[in-house]
């Protein structure tokens, strides 16, 4: 039984691979119906599935795949033309098969999936062949392309009896038109015998189709070894007809053709066996017809080529049926074929070779790959982590002993360990293709539902990221892709009206950049209309009219990620623009990633998802609370503030809750000590040691009071035991450099436990005006007694208080040394001809220095007072030009002049000194 279970396990794994392959091949085929290679791959996958099901005894799946296979063989042999409905049916087959496989995985049973309807669909689709064959065949036969006629000659897959009757007409036509090509002997013999058959075959077709309904039994043939199963076929005369034998023959050659792929031969001993026994037979069948056919349908070849032997064949088939126990008779008849000398055509043989080479063998990869349990990889990761720690210890010991031999060995050990770590990390990486292949299908379905034509372009499928991440981004990405089709792209009519091609283009592109994986979903649709969003925001009472008016278009568009923006009235079956975009954003942020949107109205919309390469390794900040160390994901950290430097003054209490005034914005505070062990880190009396981490998670922003910040490291994330799972403050644990275990704080959980959720929601809505609005923070300072000026904060490198005696002169210019660099210095009050502020409380020996960066060079500005950082929107007003001043704005409620650093530098002829950064 155990062996059987293993077999089933293998079957499930292999089948799910086939199913995945099928899905992408099918979509590929639909895109390019002439893609023979895809069709052949699909056929193989279905056939293998069918064979395996029969062997393991899963009748439903077997019936289903058989029905699909029958249709496919007609397609492959070009008896019928590919139609969209067929692709749909085949895709449904894939779905159903997947469901059945899932059921099998769950409880070993096929479950209650009912394939009957789908099978009926297949029969219906097959029945169209008489019509389509009638129409498609004639031109191709009249046509000049010998390949096509050759293909038509293959038009005898023998999947049901109707074809047998249809077949002669095929032959006849061929013989009539291809006279010059066909061996004269063939023609002479075949033509007369076939005319009759032809005339009566057509009208009867529909009647004979019923064979399709009583579906052929599983074919035991390829599973149990050739000659035996031939006997088996014969024995069961009740159910079998010549058709079945033909089926088997066909199955035979298919398996042989499949076994051309190396994996088949290795992996599937059943087929190998069969190959051994059936090969002679096949060779015998195939030989006479080698001039004709590229790859597959040799049984049909055998009939088409050996036209003169047609009746012989039927006879032999009958004899196989009647003379039940004797397979020899069949073999005998094949020998007849073998004895028929048919001239070989080398050119077509070469062609065959080509096609075999071209045919991608998706399975050949498995030759150099091994399946490994993820748990094993995790264990390897653990051990390597240990190895790294041990290495560190050894290096330390070796460093203190200074034995040359040991030192060099240690260096080697160091290197090898590093490389090993890197490689093992790599084993967890997977190309994003796995996910992409699913999107072809998704796009197809969604675009049909939306009645849009979508050209999907996938780029960068080989971009690798951690396996767990591939899974984790599937849902958010799916959502974005759906949205792009449903709402991004316009309908074909609208597109034409807008002067665009009917087909909408959808690009999904993945690439590595800056140690992260970027996935871009871009449509060339109508873009997002900011005015509609504004309207919606007001309708949903998320923002007031005035507030929306203040935001620029880009800011408005980014508000589609706002919680509550979701609308119900725009929901379609697939998606509504903005529906759940907040969820998408939250999901991606929980992976330490982010999502951004860009759009040009009328032209395109692009969503860019950025996620780290792996979830297993996380850049984190190590902090401590009452001597215990914890890790905080760096993605959550916004800034660090040391409370010692008088910042504690900014902490205020509102009815028992502490808040911090951060650049005039109130930040709720959580004391980690009180949360973890009811012992606050921060108290008003002695607060010189505490620090504050400003954290952000899903739009919740708060300050966390901690004891100390240790350092920032890349940590390996390890799951917590189930016993600790329900403590929501921790997300996982890690092992620090020194081997000690540290818990990783879950910032969202922490905020929840601290009861911050509701207050923060409000906060986030408020902060929309300020935080989400992209304002330029300005550093406000005083020059002279009461003149307020400002520079953009981003140009400021640092603020410093320097004593006057640190200034030196160099070439008639004030300079100051900093880190072995000379920085030119300008006294702004001198520049503006103002008296320096001579207030009593001002120490004339201490200068306030603002170091700015201008074109990569540094310049120091001496001001009288540094006042504040203004983070608010301001309207820059230009007025009559004053030298060194750019314009005026109202900052913090007061008129403030904006300093023009560039002009100051030019007007003072400051000698700009080169510094290393200037070269960048």
């Amino acid at each position: 039984m155990g062996e059987f279970d293993d077999l089933i396990q293998d079957f499930l794994i292999e089948s799910s691979e086939h199913i995945e392959q099928l899905e992408s091949d099918l979509v590929e085929l639909e895109k390019n119906p002439k893609n023979k290679v895809a069709l052949v791959c699909i056929f193989r996958s279905i056939h293998t599935l069918k064979g395996n099901c029969g062997f393991l005894g899963f009748p439903r799946l077997e019936k289903l795949t058989h029905a699909a296979e029958s249709l496919l063989s007609l397609l492959r042999d070009e008896i019928i033309e590919l139609q969209e409905s067929m692709i749909t049916a085949l895709l449904q087959t894939v779905d159903l098969a997947r469901e059945i496989l899932n059921n099998l995985e769950k409880d070993g049973k096929e479950g209650d999936c009912d394939p009957t309807e789908l099978i009926a669909t297949f029969e219906r689709l097959q029945s169209q062949k008489d019509i389509s064959s009638g129409t498609t065949k004639i031109p191709s036969i009249d046509g000049q392309d010998p390949r096509e006629t050759a293909a038509n000659k293959r038009a005898f897959p023998g999947t049901d009896t109707a074809e047998i009757k249809a077949f002669p007409e095929d032959l006849l036509n061929e013989n009539q038109t291809d006279e010059s090509d066909a061996p004269p002997s063939l023609l002479g013999q075949s033509a007369p015998s076939l005319t009759e058959t032809e005339t009566e075959s057509f009208p009867r077709l529909p009647d004979s189709l019923d064979t399709g309904k009583t579906l052929p039994r599983p074919i035991p043939f390829p599973r149990e070894g050739g000659s035996q199963s031939l006997l088996g076929v014969g024995e069961d005369t009740d159910h079998l007809s010549s058709k079945d034998v033909l089926d088997d023959l066909e199955a035979l050659e298919k398996d042989v053709s499949i076994s051309a792929g190396p994996r088949r031969v290795e992996k599937d001993s059943r087929e190998t066996n069969f190959l051994g026994t059936g090969k002679d037979l096949l060779d015998a069948i195939a030989n006479p017809s080698q001039d004709e056919i590229p790859v597959l349908p040799k049984s049909s070849q055998m009939i088409t080529s050996g036209v003169h032997n047609y009746s012989d064949l039927i006879a032999s088939l009958r004899s196989a049926k009647l003379d039940a126990s004797k397979s020899e008779s069949l073999l005998q008849s094949d020998d007849d074929f073998a004895n028929n000398p048919v001239p070989k055509s080398p050119s077509i043989a070469a062609d065959t070779g080509n096609i075999l080479e071209e045919t991608p063998t998706p399975t050949s990869l498995s030759e150099n790959t091994v399946r490994i349990d993820l748990a094993l990889l995790d264990q390897m990761m653990n051990l390597i982590g240990e190895l790294v720690l041990t290495r560190n210890q050894i290096l330390q010991v070796a460093g203190s002993h200074k034995i040359p031999a040991l030192t060099s060995s240690c260096q080697k050990l160091n290197m090898i360990t590093g490389q090993l770590q890197e490689r093992v990390m790599k084993t967890r990486m997977q190309p994003i293709d796995r996910l992409f292949s699913k999107f072809s299908r998704l796009v197809r379905n969604v675009s049909r539902l939306c009645k849009k034509i979508v050209l999907l372009e996938l780029q960068g499928g080989d971009t690798e990221l951690d396996r767990s991440l591939v899974e984790a981004i599937r849902d958010p990405l799916t959502h974005v892709v759906r949205n792009a089709i449903d709402h991004g792209l316009e309908s074909p009519e609208e597109r034409l009206k807008a002067g665009k091609p009917r087909e909408g283009r959808l690009l999904i592109k993945a690439f590595h950049e800056g140690g992260q994986v970027h996935i871009q979903v871009r449509d060339d649709g109508g873009g997002i209309n900011p005015h509609k969003i504004r309207k919606r925001l007001v309708e949903r009472k998320l923002l007031s009219q005035e507030e929306t008016a203040k935001l620029d278009d880009a800011q408005v568009v980014s508000l589609i990620f706002m919680p509550g923006f979701s609308t119900t009235d725009t929901v379609t079956t697939i998606s509504g623009r903005g529906v759940g975009m907040d969820v998408v954003k939250a999901n991606i942020e929980s992976l330490g990633g982010k999502i951004q949107v860009q759009t040009v109205l009328g032209a395109w919309t692009s969503f860019t998802i950025t996620v780290p390469l792996t979830l297993a390794i996380l850049p984190a900040l190590i902090i401590s609370s009452h001597g215990r160390r914890f890790a905080i994901p760096q993605a959550n950290v916004q800034e660090l503030i040391k409370l010692g430097d008088g910042h504690a003054l900014h902490i205020e209490e509102i009815s028992g809750s502490r808040v911090f005034r951060l650049r005039n914005q109130l930040l709720p505070l959580i004391d980690l000590g009180s949360q973890l062990e009811n012992r606050a880190i921060f108290n008003d009396d002695e607060n010189d040691h505490a620090s504050l981490v400003v954290l952000k998670s899903n739009d919740l922003r708060f300050g966390l009071i901690i004891d100390a910040v240790h350092d920032s490291q890349e940590i390996v994330v390890k799951a917590l035991d189930a016993l600790l799972k329900n403590i929501s403050i921790y997300s996982a644990a890690t092992i620090l450099d020194d081997g000690e275990v540290a818990l990783i704080l879950d910032i969202t959980g922490l905020a929840q436990v601290a009861g911050l959720r509701e207050t923060l929601q409000i906060q986030s809505a408020e902060s929309l005006e300020t935080a989400n609005v992209d304002i330029t923070p300005m550093l406000v300072f005083g020059v002279g007694t009461h003149w307020r000026m400002a520079v953009p904060l981003e140009t400021v490198l640092r603020l410093e208080e320097v004593s006057r005696d640190r200034l030196e002169t160099l070439k008639k210019q004030w300079v100051i040394q900093h880190n072995d660099q000379l920085i030119p210095v300008v006294f702004l009050n001198e520049f503006f001809n103002l008296e320096p502020d001579s207030g009593e409380d001002i120490d004339q020996n201490v200068l306030q220095l603002i170091v700015c960066s201008w074109r990569g060079r540094h310049v120091g500005l001496i001001v009288d007072r540094v006042i504040d950082i203004a983070e608010e929107e301001f309207q820059e007003q230009r007025h009559e030009r004053k030298k060194g001043v750019f314009g005026t704005a109202i900052l913090n409620g007061k008129a403030t002049d904006l300093l023009d650093v560039k002009e100051v530098i030019q007007l003072t002829n400051v000698l700009l000194l080169d510094n290393p950064e200037a070269s960048h």
Partner: protein, 158 residues
Amino acid sequence: MTADLDTICTFELANLRFGMPVNMVQEVIKQQDVTDVPLSPDSISGLINLRGQIITVVDLNQILLPKEENGPREGRLFLVCAPRRTPLALVIDKVGEVLKIDSKNIERSPENLHGLVRDLIDGAYKSEDELILLFNARRAVSLVLDDISKSQRDHIFG
């Protein structure tokens, strides 16, 4: 389970002598630095790093013994066992020996046994000189889980 009982490893915990099937015991290690987990119940001592794997340390003394008998003790051992997929370290006082036992000598738990201990064992084995309680590690896990939900209730209502 019973089929695996033929070889057991004995140990002492909460002043009782237990035995656990040998194939469930991964190893016994000396007490080492434990990173404690704030907000977890007393029965969870914390986390240790066992060759790169983070393992939760469970101290059943906290559940089985009254509070006053439960001071910190030096020289305890951690018995690493795997009742589930992920291993667990159990704080024990002493490790005993590996015994082959005869299933004939296994009896149901004595009726008068302390409630929680009863929940923890499959039965008792009568060796020549003493009784060995057959420890069921899976039940130990559920005992700790109970303790967690209890401490959470306390946290909410107390």
